[in-house]
Symmetry: C2
Subunit: 241 residues, 2 copies
């Protein structure tokens, strides 16, 4: 069976020079329309205030022509996801998000429904981390202990959202982002890492992966120098690594 | 029983303007001498190359008048720690370190031996994170999955090593260090967080806690603004929170 997965994985919801989600408006709109989606469930688990977070997202997306409801407003989250055609998992803290997804028995369910083409997936930041193989390359602090770092696995590699080149001051001795990613790459269980710059969107259409949005991405592979890819690049080869 | 713990918790091994561990030379030397220690076991688990890492540390510390041996060179790590008078746990990746400590059944053993005054503890960076209540406030990437985030617990609160004020560019939308720490503080299981600036050393002497080294620290508490404390401050009150 060929994968029918349909996903948009955003590096972040905020991007310099744009209002909240504005940089992704056109991609999200055409992606949802192409998939015949008019309403979606927003998953606010990565933040503490579910009502507030859902309201902020709804305020932005509703004018684009889509109905949005927070998953936390449904009495049975499993039933809600089983009946949903599309979900949007927002950013916040990746550990908090993944723990809550496991607690609600949603990790395997979302994977199955995405792979069988029954659920369209949009993720941003932490919502992108949990869409990948595992959360090993999140930037977030481990504020809660999830039952596993394995994630939904819509793509079989890891993503580092908010990717940025060295930003530490020369005088600071903490690791740079590249050093952190390379620490992971050295692990025996590590696969490659796609660093999505803020403004970059990975569009997953079955077996096709394309970089969209307003910024590019960087690929880290064990034993190789990082390679930069601009917006528009077909990175489907990432599925064969 | 009053706690007999003796520990030096370094924010990092590197500090701007000093060679490796140089900023802490005097504190480490007088701490070990005061405790009658002439040899110590170095724990290189936070990095992959144990031989190389141990060699780097040994090269620096041996001239100070102390014998150093890597824990990985002992056939039985539990036996080695049971017979040791002092350990130094170095930095690297906190998740890798804690996982390895659990795999070798050392977490509870080290706690017991430190609390009964039988083991003197020095930690740096990741080695400081694992000395606290839990690793929830490490800066490291979660490159491996440890069996728990609970740590040795020489102090009953959390530490953020390499603490630094906002360093992200204004145009970058990833969380700042303060935002990350505050995400943790909001959790129901969170206690206060001591942010150790690079160059800061927390000296634990039984029930006395004092900031030493060449830089101060910052305390984060739920619902309060962060408070800055300079080198020399007695922060023993942290034990009563
Ligand atoms: Ca985040
Ligand atoms: Ca580190």
């Amino acid at each position: 069976m060929k994968a029918c997965r349909q996903a948009l994985l955003l590096s972040s919801s905020n991007c310099h020079g744009y209002s909240f989600l504005e940089f992704a408006k056109q991609e999200i709109s055409s992606f949802l329309k192409k998939n015949g989606v008019t309403q979606l469930i927003f998953v606010p688990y990565a933040q503490n205030d579910h009502d507030d977070y859902t309201k902020n997202v709804t305020t932005v997306i509703t004018p684009w022509g889509f109905n949005v409801a927070g998953l936390h407003t449904y009495p049975d989250p499993v039933k809600a996801i089983k009946e949903a055609k599309a979900i949007f998992i927002g950013g916040g803290n990746t550990f908090l998000l993944l723990k809550k997804l496991y607690e609600n028995n949603l990790v395997n369910l979302i994977r199955e429904r995405v792979y069988t083409g029954n659920l369209v997936y949009i993720g941003s930041s932490a919502g992108t981390n949990v869409a990948t193989k595992s959360i090993h390359t999140t930037n977030d602090m481990p504020i809660v202990y999830p039952p596993s770092f394995d994630a939904i696995g819509i793509v079989p590699f890891n993503i580092n959202p908010h990717y940025i080149d060295n930003l530490e001051k020369d005088t600071h001795k903490g690791e740079t982002r590249d050093q952190r990613i390379n620490e992971f790459i050295e692990m025996p269980h590590a696969n490659l890492v796609l660093g999505l710059r803020e403004g970059c969107i990975l569009h997953v259409d079955g077996e096709s992966l394309v970089l969209k949005g307003v910024a590019g991405a960087v690929i880290f592979k064990k034993g190789e120098s990082k390679v930069e890819y601009p917006v528009g690049t077909d990175v489907s080869f990432l599925l064969n690594n």
